[in-house]
């Protein structure tokens, strides 16, 4: 299980990578592992949408479950991963890279303080068993 140290994490198993005032969002290695083979993804936000922390931004469906992806941070959507719906399986193979979902221009960077770092998230995952 991979927990990159340059990311911030939520307890719902999303990650955000912040570069300047842009945050990139996806789901974690643990999340894809729990879902197993992902067969479908639908991104529910569009470029230009103003969204809040906790809003649902995507739906991910595997052979055994469907899950919502919630935004770790608030902001304005500046990009969505258009290629992802055609290749949902890359969420399984590259959850922190090619399988990013949404890029946001952060409206409240202080929200990042409420998220977990890699060590805290890893501990949270391990405590789930």
């Amino acid at each position: 299980m991979n927990f990159p140290t340059d990311l911030k994490y939520t307890k719902n198993d999303e990650w955000v990578r912040v570069e300047g005032n842009i945050g990139t969002v996806g789901i974690t290695d643990y999340a894809q592992d729990q879902l197993s083979d992902i067969v479908f993804v639908e991104i529910l936000v569009a470029v230009g949408d103003v969204v809040k922390q906790g809003d649902s931004c995507a739906t991910v469906e595997s052979v055994k479950a469907a899950a919502d992806v919630y935004l770790p941070i608030s902001g304005k959507v500046v990009a969505i991963n258009e290629a992802l719906p055609d290749t949902p399986e890359i969420i399984n193979s590259d959850p922190y890279g090619a399988a990013w979902m949404v890029k946001l221009e952060l409206s409240d960077p202080s929200e990042l303080n409420g998220l977990m770092d890699a060590a805290a998230y890893q501990a949270a995952v391990e405590s789930k068993g």
């Binding site: 067969v39 479908f40 529910l44 739906t59 469906e61 595997s62 479950a65 469907a66 919502d68």
Partner: protein, 447 residues
């Protein structure tokens, strides 16, 4: 009363769960309500019960002993004997898709065949395992369109020529103010072009019927284009027999096709069970409600059937699912699959042609009777509206005296159609029966 467990077995079960008596299991129910006086008649023997039920059954009239010209959504077609023979096989004789589905390969194959036949018939890309009936299938189409636009479009346009019961069911499924329904107050006589001014970027779905409730046939190609121009979806509620003869809705751009499957080998009965047809395009499959059977290969490379895309369904997606109903009419879907397989493409066309020609013969001859007039000049399939010289109720009472089940009284649903009767003709109506109807209608005029 037949109880399968012996007293010893019951004793053992009680002991296992640590309860003294069966009565103790009900202690959560307040004592005063535990064994209420039900005021029931004394028990009957099987022989007595059968005799009473037969007496009730004989009080009814049925289409086998009458001449039937009543349709309005349910039609008196001939059901080949093989349909019932196959339905009654123990392996199939359940209304439900099994909860351990892959164990029942035969049931899944039957549903898969049904889905394949519906896809071919409607010109769509995917069909679910069916809904309860034509009315609930329309209501599911509304849910699906609403879910497809994630609630961002909240207007639903319902044609006034969509079956009034279907529209009522849609309103029952979707109470409250989250959806706005338009179109139902348009005059019944208007064609589909009357729906165009209602379209906007808030339109999620437009629902029309084909043939419409009054039997009229319209090519919805230009309506479909207009609906798609505003980014909305078009649902078409069909009579499946008509598709044996006329263009499939898939060809004129429908996004969803629903329909009442009863004409496909299912007998007429009050309250059903009937069959809700639901088909759509592949791009909407994840928003479609209901069960879906797919074909695959097992670990030995053999053909096998599975329930597929189940993550759409409410037991996995919970409150975010398009619908909380996944029940299908498994047995009725099987009946229609057997019916369609027996008839084949040519046979279905033949049934449709017989309906069409007999209905047109009836319409021509009724229109010749003084006092009766055809309401519409639009092309029609097997059903048409006649303006009558007297109240429909009165005419139907007279017809009934002659053993004829008359047409549907449209004044019940459309005030402007007082004294208008909707008459259905199918392949089972002989020329003699039609001539008899015309003769009796002539009599009524003189009453």
């Amino acid at each position: 009363m037949y109880l399968p467990h012996t007293p010893a077995e019951r004793e053992a079960m009680l002991k296992t769960i640590g309860v003294k008596s069966v009565a103790d299991l009900f202690q959560d129910v307040p004592a005063a309500h535990r064994f209420p006086d039900l005021n029931l008649p004394p028990g009957m023997t099987e022989m007595e019960a059968l005799s009473e039920m037969q007496e009730l059954a004989f009080a009814n009239s049925h289409t086998a002993e009458m001449v039937c010209f009543l349709g309005a959504g349910a039609y008196n077609h001939y059901v080949p004997a093989a349909v019932d023979a196959i339905l009654r096989r123990g392996e199939f004789y359940t209304a439900y898709t099994p909860y351990q589905p892959e164990l029942s390969q035969g049931t899944l194959q039957a549903i898969y065949d049904y889905q394949s036949l519906i896809v071919a018939l409607t010109g769509m890309e995917v069909s679910n395992a069916s809904h309860y009936d034509g009315a609930t299938a329309v209501a599911e189409a509304v849910s699906m369109a609403h879910a497809n636009f994630r609630g961002k479009r909240n207007q639903i346009v319902l044609s006034p020529a969509l079956h009034p019961h279907y529209r009522q069911t849609v309103h029952t499924y979707h109470p409250g103010k989250s959806l706005i329904f338009l179109g139902e107050d348009i005059p019944a006589k208007a064609g589909p072009e009357a729906l165009l001014p209602l379209l906007s970027e808030n339109t999620a779905l437009v629902v029309v019927q084909y043939p419409d409730f009054f039997g009229r046939l319209y090519d919805y190609t230009s309506l479909a284009q207009a609906v798609h121009n505003v980014g909305a979806l078009l649902a078409v509620s069909i009579n499946p027999i008509a598709l044996g003869l006329f263009k499939a809705p898939g060809e004129f751009g429908a996004d969803i096709v629903t329909g009442e499957g009863q004409p496909l080998g299912i007998p007429l009965s009050f309250g059903g069970p009937y069959l809700g047809i639901f088909a759509t395009r592949k791009e909407y499959v994840r928003k479609m409600a209901g069960r879906l059977v797919g074909e695959t290969v097992d670990n030995r490379g053999q053909r096998a059937y599975v329930l597929t895309l189940t993550a759409r369904e409410q037991h996995i997606r919970r409150e975010k699912a398009t619908s909380n109903i996944c029940t299908n009419q498994g047995l009725m879907a099987l009946a229609s699959a057997v019916y369609l397989s027996l008839l084949g493409k040519q046979g279905l066309r033949q049934v449709a042609e017989l309906c069409y020609h007999k209905a047109h013969y009836a319409a021509r001859n009724i229109a010749k009777v003084r006092g009766y007039k055809l309401w519409s000049t639009a092309p029609f399939f097997n059903e048409f509206v006649v303006r009558c010289p007297r109240p429909v109720e009165e005419i139907n009472a007279h017809l009934l005296d002659h053993g004829i089940l008359g047409g549907y009284d449209l004044g019940q649903d459309y005030p402007e159609l007082k004294n208008h009767m909707l008459i259905a003709v199918t392949e089972v109506n002989s020329k003699q029966e039609i001539d008899f109807l015309v003769r009796v209608l002539k009599e009524v005029r003189h009453d």
